[in-house]
């Protein structure tokens, strides 16, 4: 570019040396002590739930006919139930179920929310109206009620059906937020630029719109994991969720709740693990929000100012 050296140098040789976004987010997240603790606890719980049963000497379905309602001991770490089931083995099994269900529901529902919300926001018109009507309808139908009603049909089915049902009722609010953000993103100039380049709509959605909401989606998936665990245990508590012989933390708590005063180990351990798991997930979610959103809030504000001053 010899013809215009004045232009070339005008662009400035130096590029602002900034740490990459991923590194920045990680640094912010690691700076949040509660979130780090939460993350640590979740990892520890997963590891515990999946490795402890491998080395532990009781199976969750096994009964010890020599120990009914035994208090925690070296043999039965968390004690036993009325019929001699080992509470530790059951709690670990329940923890596995609750964690996996929560995780799957979080991922599935967030994916659904992203697609539905982005489509409604991007296409507008009747697509938007019918999808948002569906959202309104599902919001009106209390999820607890519907899942409870249909729970008899998945008795004997795999628990994955239950996961899908939970996910079915967990995406609507996120979808609304996604739709709102899509409406803004759609008017952003890089999306317009793509449109005027001739990029087809679905490609724009998946290439430009969804990736630009990734912080929201990550945060939301995390928070949904927490709510899904709560919903799952709640339903299982009434017997509308995970079906015996399988156990979840909810069904364990239900089984122990009546004798909780006299035999606290029946209730305390499962309830404690449940609270610990949900609390950790929520702390991570909050930490992620601070780490991911801090920048975007700032830049959004700067954006507004820039646009304000330019017009």
């Amino acid at each position: 570019m010899t013809a215009s050296t004045d232009l070339g140098t005008g662009a400035g040789e130096q590029v602002i040396d900034q740490p990459r976004r991923g590194a920045l987010v990680l640094r912010r997240l690691l700076g949040n002590r509660l979130a780090v603790v939460g993350l640590g606890v979740i990892v520890a719980l997963f590891v515990l739930a999946y490795t402890a049963p491998l080395v532990y000497h009781w199976d969750y379905e096994e009964l010890d006919y020599t120990a009914f309602l035994a208090a925690p001991s070296a043999d039965h770490w968390f004690g036993t139930t009325q019929v001699g089931g080992d509470v530790f083995a059951q709690t670990m099994r329940g923890l596995q179920k609750s964690l996996v269900i929560g995780l799957l529901v979080g991922v599935i529902s967030t994916a659904v929310a992203a697609v539905v919300g982005a489509a409604a926001g991007y296409f507008g018109g009747w697509v938007d109206r019918s999808l948002m009507w569906l959202v309104d309808l599902l919001l009106v139908l209390p999820s607890f009620l519907v899942i409870a009603i249909v729970s008899p049909t998945f008795r004997g089915q795999t628990w994955l059906v239950f996961v899908l049902l939970l996910a079915l009722f967990a995406w609507m609010i996120t979808a609304r937020i996604v739709r709102g953000m899509t409406l803004t993103l759609r008017e952003r100039e890089f999306v317009k630029a793509a449109r005027f380049m001739g990029v087809p709509p679905w490609k724009i959605i998946f290439r430009h719109i969804v990736p630009n909401m990734s912080s929201l989606l990550i945060i939301d998936a995390t928070i949904t994991v927490g709510t899904a665990i709560l919903a799952e245990t709640g339903l299982s508590f009434f017997g509308f969720g995970v079906q015996p012989p399988d156990v979840s933390l909810g069904s364990l708590i239900a089984a122990g709740v009546d004798s909780a005063q006299t035999f606290p180990w029946l209730f305390g351990f499962s309830a404690g693990f449940l609270i610990l798991a949900v609390l950790s997930v929520n702390l991570v979610g909050d930490g992620l929000r601070d780490a991911l959103d801090a920048g975007s809030v700032r830049s959004r504000r700067a954006d507004r100012r820039a646009r304000g001053s330019a017009t």
Binding site: S4, L7, R307
Partner: protein
């Protein structure tokens, strides 16, 4: 400051209202402490207007916030701010609040967010009164608020006082904020970019109101702005800030005539001017302002300075007297007496366009728009939608762009210029009228043909932050149009570095993300993307208005260079007429969805015939105090009418100064007859006015 210096400084004879000395402000940030203000000193005399000029990030706003004590708790402030005889730094909030609003008042940049959305405007003005005068009854405060609103020029102040801020236009809101500021007859008004968010004609009105405010209160005014034109017209004295410091200060005429610091010189040279006769290259200042964390020793302007010597890298120069009442912070300021920016910055003159020799009429038409109309329905209701009105966003617009030329489309916000662009870019049949690109009518194009046609029409947007997908590396951004149009991967690999070089960036930057670039660099990336498919027509939507002037100059030069080299045609939308004057060959002025005047740029600017064009041109400040003082401003009255309900007959008549001077019979003509564009005596100029007459505003 010695007695002798005070004697030299006529401003200080009366004793200052405000004395700022050695003010420093720093904030914590993730990258370390940001030293936003680094030892700033100045003073303002009673009734004086001091303009503080600087680009974004120079610390000009932060320093004024520090004066008001409005910085967040995380800011570390040192130095001294004396108001009359009171030291403000370190005063508790309760004591400061007795001074704020009563002795020192403030006007902010963004009038949209500066008013609380949930209270009426009248109540908010009344509150400013009552907060300092407890004895004032609610009704007395309300009455006084209406008087104040009336004083700042809000029509029907009595009823408008009951309206909420969102029911006010930007200009009206800013007037309300000024009404609040003068409510308690302050000694000092700090105006922080008071007109930046406003249109030029509204800017002229608001500056006028500010002048009134100064006359009424006799207050000193601290005017913070990035616009040297505004400063030239309003300020008595100017202080230039760079990287948190004052680098030059002088009476306004002296500063504009004899800048003694290379940065000021560059700033003045980088401005396109409305009164330029010949097309001269603008002076871009290389690079960008430094980050204010861990500043290296030496003068912070060194990396961008064409005159930098070793001393500059080692010692930061002090602000020292260089002439009568003139201070500058530069080791080489003595060499800068009467220098020319073009010489100092070594800018080469521009090559003239190769197409310049071919007469316009013989060049092919790249874009032809005829009688284009775009109306938006205003609907109400969620379930059953019904139309309750129509916004006439674009109402019969015709123009042509020929190869190798630039048509500037100008007008204030809401005039329909952006809608016009979007309609053209959609390449679909307009509601009425036609759009032809390279001789092909877009009506009846099938999807494939439309996609093919998109290769020839590309766009560059205003906001360099929003126009690039932040999640994509630059290489992917530039390659996106190529990928979309099925260009081979191997070819893309060679094209991307070529394009980067073409816009003055380095190919090594391809793997970086947009956030790592400055605004000007991002805009260059946007231009590279637009050029990827080798289009014939580039549609530019305010491409430089979000950039600082020193950066803007570089992009404007690049655009001009590219047009000449690649034989492009530009449709250039802007609200800044100085830039249009600089870059365009022809200009079209829009008002309420119509073109009111179109023609060759020199003719239209030298002898505008439509009263709106005249008002628009007259509202634009020229960065030259002598010229500014001599100019007579045409102030338009009122706001832009709603495009949903344009006046019958001539749309401009509700604000037209010529209309008001007509007799009844002629006025009736304006009320009944909608004027069409008609040729004037000039070779290329058309005007839509029954009483068109040339009037030189410059």
């Amino acid at each position: 400051m010695t007695a002798a210096e005070q004697f030299l400084d006529p401003v200080l004879a009366e004793g200052p209202v405000l004395t700022v000395s050695n003010l420093s402000v720093s904030f914590p940030s993730e990258a370390g402490r940001v030293d936003a203000v680094r030892g700033l000193s100045y003073e303002i005399a009673t009734g004086e207007v001091l303009g503080i000029v600087g680009e974004s990030g120079s610390g000009k706003s932060v320093s004024s916030m520090a004066v008001m004590g409005l910085l967040p708790g995380s800011a570390r402030i040192s130095g001294s701010v004396r108001f009359r005889d009171t030291e403000l730094i370190g005063k508790p909030d309760v004591e400061l609040s007795r001074i704020r609003g009563r002795r020192i008042a403030m006007v902010f940049q963004d009038p949209l967010s500066a008013l609380t959305p949930v209270f009426t405007v009248g109540d908010q003005v009344a509150e400013a009164l009552q907060v300092h005068r407890r004895e004032l009854s609610a009704s007395a405060a309300r009455n006084r608020a209406v008087e104040l609103l009336d004083l700042v020029g809000i029509p029907n102040a009595g009823s408008r006082a009951k309206a909420f801020p969102h029911e006010f236009s930007g200009g009206m809101r800013q007037r309300a904020v000024i009404a609040m500021a003068i409510a308690n007859d302050p000694d000092l008004i700090i105006a922080d970019e008071p007109t930046t968010a406003l249109d030029v004609t509204v800017q002229a009105q608001v500056l006028d109101v500010l002048k009134t405010a100064r006359e009424v209160t006799g207050a000193g005014i601290l005017l913070i702005t990035h616009d040297l034109g505004v400063v030239a017209g309003v300020a008595d004295r100017v202080l230039v800030m760079y990287a948190g410091r004052a680098v030059e200060s002088a009476p306004v005429d002296e500063l504009f005539a004899r800048p003694r610091m290379p940065y000021t010189l560059g700033l003045l040279g980088s401005l396109p001017r409305l009164d330029d006769e010949e097309r001269r290259p603008l002076v871009p200042i290389e690079g960008q302002p430094p980050a204010l964390t861990n500043l290296p020793a030496g003068c912070p302007f060194t990396p961008r300075c064409p005159l930098a010597v070793d001393l500059c890298r080692e010692v930061e120069p002090e602000l020292e007297i260089v002439a009568m009442a003139h201070r500058a912070a530069c080791h080489r300021s003595s060499e800068l007496v009467r220098s020319d920016a073009t010489d100092v910055y070594g800018v080469s003159t521009l090559a003239e366009a190769g197409t310049g020799e071919v007469p316009r009429g013989e060049r092919p038409v790249v874009l032809a728009v005829r009688d284009m109309i775009k109306h938006y329905p205003i609907t109400r209701g969620t379930v059953l939608r019904r139309r309750i009105g129509t916004v006439h966003a674009v109402d019969g617009v015709s123009f042509e762009v020929r190869q190798g030329e630039t048509l500037g489309l100008v007008g204030e916000s809401g005039c329909g210029k952006t809608t016009t662009l979007m309609e053209i870019l959609s390449l679909t049949q307009p509601e009425r009228g036609s759009v032809e690109v390279l001789g092909r009518d877009v009506t009846g194009l099938d999807r494939k043909a439309r996609t093919r046609l998109r290769r020839d029409v590309q766009v560059v947007f205003q906001d360099p932050v929003a126009s690039l997908d932040p999640r994509m590396p630059v290489a992917d951004i530039i390659a996106e149009p190529l990928v979309t149009h099925g260009v081979l991967r191997s070819e893309i690999r060679t094209r991307v570095p070529e394009l980067l070089r073409l816009v003055g960036l380095r190919p090594e930057h391809a793997s970086r993300y947009p956030a790592e670039f400055s605004g000007g660099q991002r805009q260059r990336i946007g231009i590279a993307r637009a050029l990827a498919l080798e289009p014939k027509l580039l549609v530019l939507d305010e491409p430089v208005s979000a950039l600082d002037v020193s950066i803007q100059a570089g992009v404007v030069n690049l655009l001009e260079e590219l047009r000449v080299r690649l034989g492009l045609a530009y449709l250039f939308v802007a609200h800044d007429l100085s830039v249009v004057r600089h870059i365009a060959d022809r200009v079209a002025v829009m008002y309420l969805g119509r073109i009111v005047e179109i023609g060759e740029v020199r003719t239209v600017f030298r002898a505008p015939q439509h009263p709106y064009t005249q008002a628009l041109l007259s509202a634009i400040p020229v960065p030259d105090p002598a010229v500014e003082r001599a100019r007579e401003r045409i102030l338009l009255t009122g706001d832009l009418p709603s495009p949903a309900d344009p006046p019958a007959g001539c749309r401009f008549r509700s604000r037209c100064f010529r209309y008001t001077a007509l007799d009844a019979a002629d006025q009736r003509r304006c009320e009944q007859d909608d004027p069409a564009l008609e040729r004037t005596d000039a070779p290329d100029q058309q005007v839509a006015c029954h009483f068109a007459a040339p009037y030189a505003v410059l």
